[in-house]
C-alpha cells in the first residue's frame, strides 16, 4: 500500500476489503482525477455496492506503463445521494457514472448526460422504461430521423439505432441498448453453484466464450487460492488465440459481405469454419464452451490435438494472408473501407476505447502486454497498433492480429510440448477468501474484459461485476458514423463488431 490507495501489479489479484483504502468522496474524486490524467492510464472497473450505510463505490485504475492497478473506494450516503461528477474532468468515466446512477439512483451533479446505460428490470427507477425513453432530437425542417431496430433484418442481436440525418449524411447517432439484459451479474452473485457460475460466464457473450471463461476462472482461482500450473496457462492462451483468429476471420468475411464482395466473403467464411472445427475437435464445442473451468480443465490438450491445431492454424494463416492480400488491394473494396468511419485518437482517448478500437487509433492498449495474465507472463506479446482509425484500419488490424496469433499458437504449443503435464481437473468445491475484493482482466479478441468480485465475511460472493469491451466501444461507433453517409453505417458497425449481450449483461 502506497499513499492513500492500494496498488497491485498482479492480474488477477485479491485484496482484503479492509485494505482497500476508503476515502471521503471529495478526496476520492480528486485522487481519480489526478490518476487518470494521461493516456496510458484507464479505469477498468468503477461500480457501487449497496450496504446499510449507503453505496460503496469501488474504482480500479490500470496503468499500462507502470503495469499496476490502483484500487480505491468511497462511501456515498443514500441521502441526499448527490455528488460531484468526474465525467467533465475524465470523460471515459461517463458510462460508469451513468450505470451507477441507473442502478442506485446516485445523481452525479454536473454529468453532461445521465442517459441510462440499459433498461434492466433490476434497476433503481422502475417507472422509467425503454418505451418512454426520450431520444435525443434536433428540431429542423431539413433533418429527418431514421430508427433502426431493435428487430433487425439480419440474424443479429437487438439494439436500437436512432439516426438524425441531413439527406444521406448522418449528423448524430444515438445507440440504445439493453434489450438483451439477463441479469448476469445478479445471477453470478446469487448462485452458490460453481459450475453454474462458470457456465453463465461463458455465455456472457457468445463470441468471447473463452475470454470471459478465463476471466472468471482466474478470478475464482485468486479468490479461492487455487493453484494452477503452466501447462494449463498455455492451454488457456491457445484457446484464447484460437478464438481471436476465428472471430477476426469471421469479421473479415462479414465486412466483405457488407460491401457485396462475394469472393472475400466465402473464402473467409470457409477459413473460419476450419478454425472453429479445430476448437470443436479439442473440446467438443466450436466456440470453446466447456474448455475453461476454474482450477483445471476437462479437456487437457493431447499431442494429437496440439499437432492438429498447429497444422490447421498454419494453413489457415497462410490462406488468410493470401485472400486478405487480394481483398485489401481491390480498388472497389478499398473505396468502401478507406477513410470511412474514422475515429481519431483524441476521440478514442476521450471515450476510453479499449482493445481493437483503441489499437486502430494509435493507442497501444493490450492487457496481454500491460497486465499479463496466464502464460503471457512468460511470453511477450507486442500489441499491433495502427493509426488511421478507419474501417480499413480495423480490417487490417484483424489481418495483422491473425498473423500474430498464429505465431503465438505455434510458439506456445512448442513450449507446451516441453512443459511438465499436470493435467489438473476442474475444482468446483472451492472456498473463497472472506471479505475480499478481487479483479481479473483478459484481453479477448474485442479488447479488455474485466471481472471483479467482492466477498462477504462468510466467503460468498456478494457482488460480481462484469465489463465487456463493448461497454466503452459502442460510443466509438456512434462517433465513427458522424458526418458519414448513412449507407456506410453497416460497414462501420461490422468493423467494430461490438457485442450487444456483453454490453447488456
Amino acid at each position: 500500500m502506497t499513499g492513500n490507495f492500494t496498488e497491485i501489479s498482479e492480474n488477477p489479484f485479491v485484496v482484503k476489503m479492509d485494505e482497500v483504502r476508503e476515502l471521503s468522496y471529495d478526496s476520492f474524486h480528486d485522487k481519480i482525477k489526478e490518476m487518470l490524467d494521461g493516456g496510458s492510464v484507464h479505469c477498468v472497473a468503477y461500480y457501487g455496492i449497496e450496504d446499510s450505510k449507503g453505496i460503496r463505490l469501488i474504482c480500479s485504475v490500470a496503468d499500462d506503463i507502470r503495469h499496476n492497478i490502483c484500487t480505491l473506494s468511497t462511501l456515498v450516503p443514500k441521502e441526499p445521494g448527490i455528488v460531484k461528477s468526474l465525467t467533465t474532468a475524465c470523460p471515459p468515466l461517463h458510462i460508469y457514472e451513468r450505470e451507477i446512477n441507473e442502478n442506485f439512483g446516485i445523481v452525479f451533479d454536473d454529468h453532461p448526460w445521465l442517459k441510462p446505460v440499459r433498461y434492466p428490470h433490476d434497476r433503481k427507477n422502475k417507472l422509467a422504461v425503454m418505451d418512454n425513453y426520450p431520444f435525443y432530437g434536433i428540431e429542423s425542417e431539413e433533418l429527418h430521423e431514421v430508427g433502426v431496430g431493435p428487430v433487425h433484418a439480419g440474424v443479429i442481436e437487438p439494439g436500437h439505432f436512432r439516426f438524425i440525418c441531413n439527406g444521406e449524411k448522418v449528423l448524430h447517432l444515438e445507440i440504445q441498448l439493453g434489450y438483451q439484459h439477463r441479469g448476469v451479474e445478479k445471477l453470478l452473485a446469487e448462485s452458490s453453484n460453481s459450475l453454474k457460475r462458470a457456465v453463465i460466464c461463458e455465455n456472457i457473450a457468445g463470441d468471447s466464450a473463452v475470454a470471459h471463461s478465463i476471466a472468471h476462472a482466474q478470478l475464482i482461482e485468486s479468490l479461492g487460492g487455487i493453484e494452477t500450473m503452466p501447462d494449463l496457462w498455455i492451454e488457456r492462451c491457445i484457446g484464447l488465440e484460437l478464438e481471436r483468429i476465428a472471430v477476426h476471420i469471421g469479421d473479415t468475411a462479414a465486412l466483405c459481405g457488407d460491401v457485396a464482395y462475394q469472393l472475400g466473403q466465402v473464402v473467409c467464411e470457409a477459413l473460419r469454419t476450419e478454425i472453429i472445427n479445430t476448437t470443436q475437435f479439442w473440446c467438443g464445442n466450436r466456440f470453446g464452451k466447456g474448455l475453461v473451468r476454474p482450477g483445471g480443465t476437462n479437456y487437457s490438450l493431447s499431442k494429437e490435438t496440439a499437432d492438429k491445431i498447429i497444422t490447421v492454424t498454419d494453413i489457415v494463416g497462410k490462406r488468410f494472408a493470401e485472400i486478405t492480400d487480394r481483398i485489401y488491394s481491390l480498388p472497389s473494396v478499398l473505396a468502401r473501407f478507406e477513410d470511412i468511419g474514422q475515429v481519431t485518437s483524441e476521440q478514442a482517448l476521450t471515450i476510453g476505447a479499449v482493445g481493437m478500437a483503441a489499437r486502430t487509433c494509435g493507442i497501444s492498449r493490450d492487457i496481454r502486454n500491460s497486465h499479463p495474465f496466464q502464460y503471457y507472463r512468460q511470453y511477450d506479446v507486442s500489441p499491433v497498433v495502427l493509426d488511421s482509425g478507419d474501417v480499413l484500419a480495423r480490417g487490417m488490424l484483424r489481418v495483422r492480429e491473425v498473423e500474430q496469433s498464429v505465431r503465438i499458437i505455434r510458439d506456445l504449443t512448442d513450449r507446451w510440448f516441453k512443459e511438465k503435464k499436470y493435467g489438473r481437473k476442474p475444482v468446483y468445491d472451492y472456498k473463497l477468501k472472506p471479505g475480499s475484493f478481487s479483479l481479473s482482466m483478459v484481453e479477448g479478441w474485442r479488447g479488455e474484459i474485466c471481472h471483479s468480485a467482492v466477498t462477504d465475511e462468510n466467503g460468498s460472493i456478494v457482488h460480481y461485476k462484469v465489463k465487456d469491451p463493448s461497454f466503452h466501444n459502442w460510443m466509438a461507433l456512434a462517433l465513427a458514423v458522424r458526418n458519414q453517409e448513412i449507407s456506410d453505417f453497416p460497414v462501420c458497425n461490422k468493423s467494430f463488431n461490438l457485442s450487444y449481450c456483453g454490453h447488456d449483461l
Partner: protein
C-alpha cells in the same frame, strides 16, 4: 397470319428467358465462389411459393400501394412489346416507339417509387429517394444511345432500326456496337439495382436502394415485383441480341442466338457480382455519369461516321 405467329415467338422468348435469368445469375455466382449453390429453378420455386400466398397490406398504405406492383409489371410487359425479333418487326411498332419503351419503364418505376412513399416508412422513403435520383441520372445515357440509333439508321422505331442496323456494317458501326453493348449492360445493372450500384442480396436496409422499397410488399404482390425485375433484365438482353443479330437468318438459329445472348448476359452479371464490391453510395452518381460520358463517345463515333463534322 403466319407472320404474327412468328413475331409472337420473340415476345414469348423474352418471357421464358426471364423465368430462368435469376437462376443463371445465381448459378454463375455459386460456381465462381466454389459453392454448390441452389439449382437454376430455385428462384422459380420461390416465385411459386409467393404466388400461392396472399398479400398483407399495412394499415398505413392506400390504394396506390395495392395497385403499384401490378402496374409496374404491366408497364414492363408493354415495353417488351415493342422489341423486335429476327428482323421481322415487333408485336407493336410505330414511329418513336423507343420513347414509348423508355417511358413505359419509367412509368413502372414511378409507381414503384410512389408506392414506397405510400408506406410512410423512413427506410422506404430513403430508398425511393435514391432510386429516383439514380434513374434520373441514367436516363440521359439511355436517350443518347437511342438518339444515336435513330441517327445512324434514320428511323425512330425499334423494328425499323434493327431491321436496318447491321453490326458488321463497317468499322465505325462495329466499334459503336461494342460500346453500345457495354452501355446496355451498365444501364441494365443500374436500372435493375444490381452490383455495383446496389446489392440485391444484402439484408442491410440502410444500404439498399431497390430492395428497401419493397420491404412492405408480401406474397402475390412481391412475386409480381420479382417477375418484373427479371423481365426488365431480359428486355435489355433482347436489345443486346437485336444489336448482334444479323438480318438474314432462319428462325431457329435466331432463337438459339437469342437464348445464347441472354445466358451470356446473365453469366456476365453473375461474374461482375462475384469479383467486385459495390460502390459507396455517393460514388454511384459518378459511376452513372461515367456511363453517360461513354454514351457520348458512342454518339461522337456516329457523328464522325456520318460526316457531321465536315459541314
Amino acid at each position: 397470319m403466319a407472320e404474327y405467329y412468328l413475331i409472337m415467338i420473340g415476345f414469348a422468348l423474352i418471357i421464358i428467358t426471364a423465368l430462368f435469368f435469376p437462376g443463371i445469375i445465381i448459378r454463375a455466382k455459386s460456381i465462381a465462389s466454389g459453392r454448390k449453390g441452389p439449382g437454376i429453378l430455385q428462384p422459380l420455386r420461390d416465385l411459386a411459393v409467393l404466388l400461392k400466398k396472399g398479400s398483407v397490406f399495412s394499415s398505413t398504405t392506400g390504394v396506390i400501394f395495392q395497385i403499384a406492383s401490378v402496374i409496374t409489371l404491366c408497364s414492363i410487359i408493354c415495353a417488351a412489346l415493342v422489341i423486335p425479333f429476327a428482323n421481322r418487326g415487333a408485336l407493336v411498332s410505330f414511329e418513336g416507339d423507343f420513347v414509348f419503351f423508355s417511358y413505359m419503364l419509367a412509368l413502372g418505376k414511378f409507381f414503384a417509387i410512389i408506392s414506397a412513399l405510400d408506406t410512410g416508412s423512413s427506410f422506404e422513403g430513403m430508398g425511393a429517394n435514391r432510386e429516383a435520383f439514380f434513374s434520373m441520372l441514367i436516363e440521359p445515357a439511355f436517350f443518347i444511345i437511342l438518339a444515336s440509333f435513330a441517327m445512324v439508321t434514320g428511323f425512330t422505331s425499334f423494328s425499323d432500326i434493327f431491321s436496318y442496323f447491321l453490326v458488321t456494317g463497317n468499322h465505325f458501326i462495329l466499334i459503336y456496337s461494342i460500346i453500345l453493348i457495354y452501355l446496355l449492360i451498365q444501364v441494365a445493372l443500374t436500372e435493375n439495382s444490381r452490383v455495383p450500384v446496389d446489392d440485391p442480396k444484402t439484408h442491410l436496409e440502410l444500404t439498399m436502394i431497390h430492395e428497401v422499397m419493397i420491404l412492405d410488399n408480401s406474397g402475390f404482390d412481391k412475386a409480381l415485383i420479382h417477375l418484373g425485375t427479371w423481365l426488365k433484365f431480359t428486355v435489355y438482353g433482347a436489345l443486346i441480341y437485336n444489336i448482334i443479330a444479323p438480318v438474314q437468318m432462319n428462325y431457329f438459329v435466331q432463337a438459339g442466338l437469342f437464348l445464347a445472348v441472354q445466358a451470356l448476359f446473365a453469366v456476365t452479371v453473375g461474374l461482375i457480382e462475384s469479383f467486385r464490391a459495390r460502390n459507396k453510395m455517393n460514388r454511384n452518381p459518378k459511376f452513372i455519369l461515367t456511363v453517360s460520358a461513354i454514351a457520348m463517345i458512342a454518339f461522337v463515333i456516329i457523328l464522325i461516321y456520318m460526316n457531321k463534322f465536315n459541314q
